[in-house]
Each structure stands twice: as C-alpha cells, then as structure tokens.
C-alpha cells in the first residue's frame, strides 16, 4: 500500500472511530448527573488545607463498593468518639445547607483517595468552591461529577461573608458560561475549566468511554513501546 493511501485509510479510520464514539456516547448510561446550572444555598467551611483524611478518614475506606460514603464525610470533625454529633461543626448546624460546599485555600490536599470525592457527592454536594484546589482532588471531583470552582481569594472572602452572615444566600454556578454569582448581590466571577472536561460535565460523559473509542490507536502506540 502506498504511503498516501495508508494515510487516507487512517483518516477514514479515525473519522469512523470518532463517529462510533459519538454514537456510543449518545446511547451510553451516564456516569453521573449532567451539570448545567446549579442555583443553591451553600455550606461554608472557612478552613485552609482541608485534606482528604479529614474529608474521609482512612478507616472508612474498607468498602469494595461505592456506597454510603456520605455518612462518614468529615467524620472526625462531625462526630465525637461516641458517635454523637459535634454541635459546633458546620454540617451539624441545620441553618446551613445546600448543594455547594465552600472551602478554604488548598482544598483536598493529601491522599489520592477518590472516596473523598465520593463522600462529598454522596452527601449531596455537586460543586465545591475554593480559592485553590489540590491537583488529584480536582481530577477526582470532575471524574465523579462534582464541579470544582476556583475563585480569587477576594471573591472567596465575599462568598464566605455573605453565606456565613445570611445562610439563605444563594450562589449560581453556570457551567456553560463559566461563571459563579452571589445571587442577592449580583457579584460575579468567571472560572476556568478546559473545553473537554466542560463538555463531559455538561453531558454526563466520562473519560473511560472516550478511551475505549481509541483503543486501536493505543494498541499501535503500545506496540512501539520499549517497556
């Protein structure tokens, strides 16, 4: 086969693959609920360096299924050793509720445990807002359908002030427009997310299906691998 013909064949193959991917994407079961616009009250947690050991302590990682992790979200901040609720922890203060969790700088540092993101999702949050996220936690969140929204430190302070002062304060997160708004004041800020991940969240897609559709290309790559 001539080189040109080979190239042409490859292009056809790639187009076919892309088509199959779209087809399977349309038919497949969504990995999580689509994320479009989220308007909700929020739970403020103005603590820096909230690590994944706090979000879900290691002793609760023993399950072999993804079930019930929300019950142990922030376990040791939320409950005393006799399992009674700690009254001063924000999740036990019923005036604060909602689908948005607002955390201090460097949220999600530490362990790679996706259980942390599962616990947050299972508890009912769909969005976490902070001025800075740890890298692995950010990836894990998007992979399970939670939108991490990174805002400026100034805007984070504004959110904390409004939400803590008035728990009925609503935030609106618009993924299509990539904006977050404090509804009652109209304060608004843009956030960054790459186009690929945005498309996934808007449609409830995940990476595994994308990769399944390019297995032939991966096979070709693996064949040349020196390891």
């Amino acid at each position: 086969m001539s080189l040109k013909l080979k190239e042409k064949n490859n292009i056809i193959k790639r187009k076919l693959l892309a088509f199959c991917f779209k087809l399977s994407a349309n038919n497949r079961k969504m990995a999580y609920d689509k994320f479009t616009i989220l308007k909700s009250t929020a739970v403020p947690l103005p603590i820096e360096n909230v690590d994944t050991d706090q979000i879900i302590p290691a002793r609760f990682l023993k399950a072999t299924e993804r079930k019930g992790f929300g019950d142990n979200l922030f376990r040791d901040w939320r409950y005393n050793s006799d399992d009674s609720p700690k009254q001063d922890f924000i999740l036990n203060n019923l005036i604060y509720a909602g689908k948005i969790l607002v955390g201090g700088k460097n949220f999600g540092s530490g362990s790679s445990r996706e259980h942390a993101a599962w616990a947050i999702y299972d508890y009912g949050f769909r969005c976490v807002v902070s001025s800075f996220f740890a890298d692995i936690f950010r990836n894990n969140s998007i992979n399970v359908g939670i939108l991490p929204v990174q805002v400026s430190p100034e805007f984070l302070d504004k959110i904390f002030n409004n939400v803590i002062g008035d728990p009925s304060t609503e935030l609106e997160v618009n993924l299509e427009e990539q904006t977050i708004t404090i509804v009652k004041t109209g304060d608004k800020e843009s956030f960054v997310i790459n186009g690929y991940k945005k498309h996934n969240l808007l449609n409830g897609f995940d990476d595994i299906d994308y990769l399944q559709a390019m297995k032939e290309e991966i096979g070709g790559f693996a064949a040349k691998s020196i390891y």
Partner: protein, 467 residues
C-alpha cells in the same frame, strides 16, 4: 522528538503522549500500573458494570499493603472488611491475569518499596497507582504519580490516562548535607519553605549535588514527599547510582537489553538551556534535622528551633491556631524536650534498608525509653530479610525493640496500628494530618535518626547529640 532544549520531564512526558486533545488533557500512555487492595475494588467493579476488560494485564502489578496486619500475618485477617478487600484484590488479579503479591508472598510489601526493589520501576517510564505516594518512583527518572479510582479503571481498561501537562519546577540544592542530616530532612526543609501547596500544579525535578550524592533509597524518600508539596510528582535524572541499583534486579532488563536500556537512560537529563516555569535554589548548609509541629507537612522546622508565631507562617491565622490546638502546642514553644509516646519507623517514605541502618546506628548500645511504644515496620519482606542478614535485628532486639511484619501500618492506621487519641508520635511517615495515625493522634514527622533519638530518650531530641 523535538530538538529544542527540553527538560527530563518533557522528554519522558512527550514520548508517552498518544493523543493531544484540543483544549483538553493529553492522553498519556502508562508503562507500569501498581494496584493495591483499597483503591482498586471499585475500579474492577466498574469494568464489570461496563462489560470491558483489562487491556494489558502484564503491565499491572498487585500487592496488598494498606490494610494488612503487621503481626501474625500467617493467620487469617481478623477484620472482616479488610479481609474482604484482600480477597477482592486476589480474585480480581486472578480473573484478569495480573501478577499478585498478596500477604505471605515473599515479594509482598508496600507498593512503592516492592516496585523498585524488583526492578519493575525503570528510568523513563510512566508509572501510576491509586496512591498519592506513587511519586516515589520518580527517583529513577520516571514520571510517576498518584491517581483516583476512576483513573485506575481507565488504566486497567485502556493503559492510558487523561492529564493536562503540569508546569515544571526545578529545585536545586548544592553543597554537602551536615552531620545527622538525612534525605528525609531535605524535603521536610523544602516544605517548611514553600508550604504544603507551594508546588501545586507543578512537576518537580530535584537537581544539584545533594541529590546527585544521594543513594536511591534517599532519592525515593525525597520524591515520595513531592506530593506533600502539592506537586503531582518529582524526579531525579538517572545516573550511575541508578544503574548500579537496578542492575541484576529480577525484572530489570538483562544482557544486551540492559546495555541498550542504559544507553537510552543516559539521554534522560535536562538539556542545559531548557526552561522551567519556576526555579528554586537552596544550599545544604541551610538544612538541619527537621521536625514538624503542626497538622500539615509544611508546618515543620529545624529541630533546634521554636514553634513560629502565626505571623511568621504562610497558613492563615485561624487555620494555624486550629492546628496548634490540635497538637496541644503553643507559639514559641521549644521543640527539643517535647514529650513523645510512640515512635513509628516505616512507610513508603522511610521503610527501606537504609532507614533501618540509620535507626540502628543510633540505638546501638542504648535502650528504648520506658515511656515509648515503638513500631518498627519494614517496607517489604526483602527489607525484612536484609535487616536480619545484616545483623540489624540483633542490634534492635538488644536495645529493646521488636520488628513487625511489612505493610503501610501506622502511616495511615487502616489496620490495628493506631496511635491513641492525644498521644504524641514521632513518625518517619509522610503525613501529620489530624487523625492520620488514629483518631485524635498527634504526629511529628521526622527522619529515622530523629525517631531513633526520641525512641531512646523518650522525648524530642537532637540526634546529633547522640552521635
């Protein structure tokens, strides 16, 4: 590959990109994948639900470590939930044809100890595992980082992962480390300078004389802690030390393949005029034995120092206050002389033979302090055998210490090795988070030498005074 000057990181990353997605991550091919019992079961469940399989089972290696007991490993595991995870790992590995080194297998141990010691980890590779301390393998000039369970499922099913390329940070330290200053003190020092989020978004290259003169064990300790700086990983360019460590290891290349591999590995270094997004430089003279006093690894200082005032640290005042309250410490407290109840030597950070040699060198001819409970946990059965063969066990026993069996143990306290609430532990592990070593436990991170000094004196002690 591009001919413009590039970094070690660029060379390895770029040679593994299968596809670049416009306005999205790179699809990165993964050479080696490690799995363990805690973060893999749900990934295998995912494969089953989707009706897909493992693409290259020979590129994945399974070992049990996080949940395993460190005594009586020959008996059935008592905790039913832990036993269930271990069984799931064994069954999933068997089902898909993955090498599995379970409890009692002579190759069993902590995933980041057994990978390198069996020659699975090689320079120039991409390596991932559902564990953040996968960064350890970067010591060999590999790109190695921790991933979540969804990503474990990705790698099992497609041998690829989707990652935006991180920015590049080089940390250069020249000079010679002083007496009593070990590899562990180097990253703890860096952490005290840049905080626990100072390298977020970056991949680190460690360069300079300090790292060039370090053993592979030492480089592994350094790279292990790069995640604590917020970086996905860190790496050291492979050199003669690397090749000497790898030569003859069971799964390392042999004969002609070895020569070919070494020729390639020698090209894996940063070109002279290559650019980094950020460069940091320190000198070995600035580093003394370190110890942490707070609840993130960035809150540490030289052992002769006092605990800083809130105004001197980069963490917010409220978070800093919460941290000191948890630890039962105050601003301006002196660290030397602080009481200690537990000493833990082990983990993927400091569970290797060199760490046991260092610990033994200091406790030799001394006795364990009565108030100390000590857990000495080798990183693997191979390390355990070395400890016995080198006569280290005799030294430890004579000083009143017992050796436990390999596993992650008190580093994350998933098994029974939990420090009780309110107690202080000088630990050679990697995290001092609230409750990390057991609910309410208070952790002071330090080197094996500082741990040994605490073990024989019963309090925080400068190891240089015992050397």
């Amino acid at each position: 590959m591009s001919t413009s000057p590039s970094t070690l990181f660029d060379k390895v990353w770029d040679s593994h990109v299968v596809r670049k997605i416009e306005d999205g991550p790179d699809v990165l091919f993964i050479d080696r994948h490690f799995i363990h019992e805690v973060t893999s079961p749900v990934a295998f469940l995912g494969l089953k639900t989707r009706g897909i399989s493992v693409m290259y089972p020979n590129r994945t290696f399974a070992t049990a470590d996080h949940n395993t007991p460190t005594i009586n490993q020959h008996l059935p595991v008592q905790d039913p939930l832990s036993a269930n995870q271990l069984k799931a790992l064994e069954e999933n590995s068997a089902k898909y044809g993955i090498s599995h080194w379970g409890l009692n297998n002579p190759k069993n141990g902590i995933v980041h100890v057994v990978g390198p010691e069996n020659g699975i980890t090689l320079p120039g590779m991409t390596i991932v595992c559902g564990d953040s301390h996968t960064s350890t393998h970067g010591a060999f000039g590999a790109i190695a980082f921790g991933i979540g369970t969804s990503e474990v499922e990705m790698v099992l099913s497609s041998q690829c992962i989707m990652q935006p390329k991180p920015k590049k940070l080089r940390i250069t330290i020249n000079g010679k480390l002083g007496k009593g200053v070990t590899p562990k003190d180097v990253p703890l020092f860096i952490l005290s300078q840049i905080t626990a989020s100072g390298a977020t978004g970056y991949f680190i290259e460690f360069a300079g004389e300090v790292f060039e003169n370090m053993s592979m064990e030492g480089r592994m300790t350094v790279c292990n802690l790069s995640i604590e700086m917020g970086a996905r990983g860190g790496m050291v360019a492979p050199d003669e030390t690397t090749f000497a460590y790898l030569k003859g290891r069971e799964l390392a290349p042999k004969g002609e393949a070895w020569d070919k591999a070494v020729a390639y590995w020698k090209t894996l270094k940063t070109d002279e005029s290559a650019k980094f997004d950020l460069e940091l430089t320190y000198h070995a003279d600035e580093i003394e034995p370190q110890i942490t006093y707070g609840t993130n690894p960035g809150l540490g200082t030289g052992i002769t120092h006092h605990i800083p005032f809130a105004t001197e640290v980069k963490d917010g005042a409220a978070s800093y206050k919460k941290s000191l309250e948890y630890m039962g410490f105050h601003e301006d407290d002196q660290l030397i002389g602080k009481p200690v109840d537990y000493v833990f030597l082990g983990s993927c950070t400091n569970g290797r033979i060199e760490d046991f040699r260092a610990f033994a060198s200091l406790v030799k001819g001394r006795k364990k302090a009565d108030n100390i409970t000590a857990w000495l946990v080798p990183g693997s059965h191979i390390v355990e055998s070395q400890i016995k063969e080198e006569g280290i066990l005799d030294i430890l026993n004579a000083a009143g210490f017992q050796l436990r069996q390999p596993g992650c143990s008190a580093c994350l306290a998933m098994n029974d090795d939990k420090v009780p609430a309110g107690k202080y532990a000088v630990s050679t592990s990697n995290r001092n988070f609230e409750g990390r070593q057991g609910p309410g436990a208070r952790t002071l991170l330090a080197s094996p030498l500082v741990a040994a000094a605490a073990a024989v004196t019963g309090k925080v002690t400068d190891p240089r005074e015992l050397m």
